[in-house]
């Protein structure tokens, strides 16, 4: 119960800081919208290539925008050594990790909720019947990406070229999540039966659980040195 209250306290603090500075959301939004707009000019309007490329473009935009957000999210804790301030509190490191993951998922998902309608509009996509499983795909993909990113942002913060190190470590490890998310999105947008999409969603869930458990256990050792 105490841990839940502490998770809420950290999360509330992170949201308050973001509402004041807006630097994480602004950076992620500008990046993801720019990607969507640029790719919109690459294809002929209404072409088959446009529809088949859309899921990949969408996840490239989300993945790279998330990388920006994750990097900034931990940098905020480094200012004034605030991470040290968190670690001197009588709170389990796992609670800190959980709060950070929830915060990162929240910020990334908000950006996705803004970017998706723009994508639908520019790429002439139809999501009317599949909006719910599509949102589930976004959430599951984001969870996997943010979980690994939350751990790796701490590791990369202690390296000399942290802005470069985070994507170098993050993207290869999260390839299974990104691929499953792209496949699931593609099949949903192609109007496939939900039964055919389910294996990809199951894979996403499996990787989310695996990543969360491993990162949850490693976080304590990563933040303490």
């Amino acid at each position: 119960m105490n841990s839940l209250r502490q998770i809420y306290t950290i999360l509330y603090k992170d949201v308050l800081l973001e509402l004041r500075s807006k630097d994480i959301l602004t950076a992620m939004l500008i990046f993801s919208l720019t990607v969507v707009v640029i790719f919109n000019f690459v294809f002929e309007p209404g072409s088959a290539e446009m529809a088949t490329s859309a899921p990949g473009i969408l996840w490239v935009a989300f993945a790279f925008a998330s990388n920006l957000g994750l990097s900034r999210s931990f940098a905020r804790e480094q200012e004034n050594s605030n991470m040290q301030g968190l670690l001197i509190c009588p709170v389990d490191r796992s609670a800190v990790f959980t709060a950070k993951v929830i915060g990162n998922v929240l910020f990334i998902f908000l950006v996705e909720l803004v970017t998706l309608p723009v994508m639908v509009l520019f790429f002439d996509l139809s999501i009317g019947a599949v909006w719910l499983p599509l949102l589930a795909t976004l959430l599951l993909g984001t969870l996997g990406f943010a979980t690994v990113g939350t751990l790796f942002s701490v590791i990369s913060a202690n390296t000399r070229s942290r802005e470069v190190m985070l994507p170098i470590m993050l993207f290869p490890v999260t390839v299974p999540v990104i691929l499953a998310a792209i496949k699931s999105t593609a099949w949903l947008l192609a109007g496939r039966d939900l039964g055919q999409v389910w294996p990809w969603l199951r894979l996403l869930i499996a990787f989310d659980v695996l990543y969360f458990v491993v990162c949850f256990l490693l976080y304590e050792y990563v933040v303490e040195e």
């Binding site: 306290t9 603090k13 004034n80 050594s81 605030n82 301030g85 509190c89 009588p90 709170v91």
Partner: protein, 228 residues
Amino acid sequence: MIRTEHIGKSFGPLHALHEVNFAIPQGEWAALLGANGAGKTTLIRMLAALTRPSAGSIEVAGFDLERHAHKVRQRIGVVSHHPLLYGDLSAEENLRFYGRMFQVENLQNRIDELLSLMELKKRRHDLVRTFSRGMQQRLSLARAVLHQPGVLLLDEPFTGLDLHATDLLTRFIEKAIAGSVTVFMSVHDLDYALAHAQRLLVLCKGRLLMDTTPGGIGRDQLVELIRE
């Protein structure tokens, strides 16, 4: 109280601390002296459960740090040369955040009391990034004592402070000592340590060279020891 037994800390081939043994009883003010790189910050980080010793054991506030780090954290207050405050939160919001993390009861009353004590009541709603270094350090001390810890660990808390802020902090520490709080402070100012601390520990290249009282050593001898 604080007790260390044969503690050491290595970072790869570098031995930051080696065989450090001391015991500070409850309610005593101990000053940790040493040149830059002597291992003072590493020692304080270990006492604050921020880093684990490579060897030996530490007991703080009656608990073994290795086995009961959580209980130790509930009983210590830490002030370092970084204020450990969020610049985009106000003074009150910072204290409320830490108060909730430490599950302080009657939090609003405690925040009011500490902001008054640190002469920051008028600036309670201002963002911390607009504060001077001295104000940030006073707020940092308020953060550290919010949960009324039995042990205060202070890592060069006077860095960049003016006379008024130094006086305020000193008075606060003296009051804490009177209330049986153990204070362990690293400091560069020898005269300050000789005038106020009840115990002097001298670290040199990761080894504890001396553990004495201010009456047990002269200033010149202390300077020589630190230079070694």
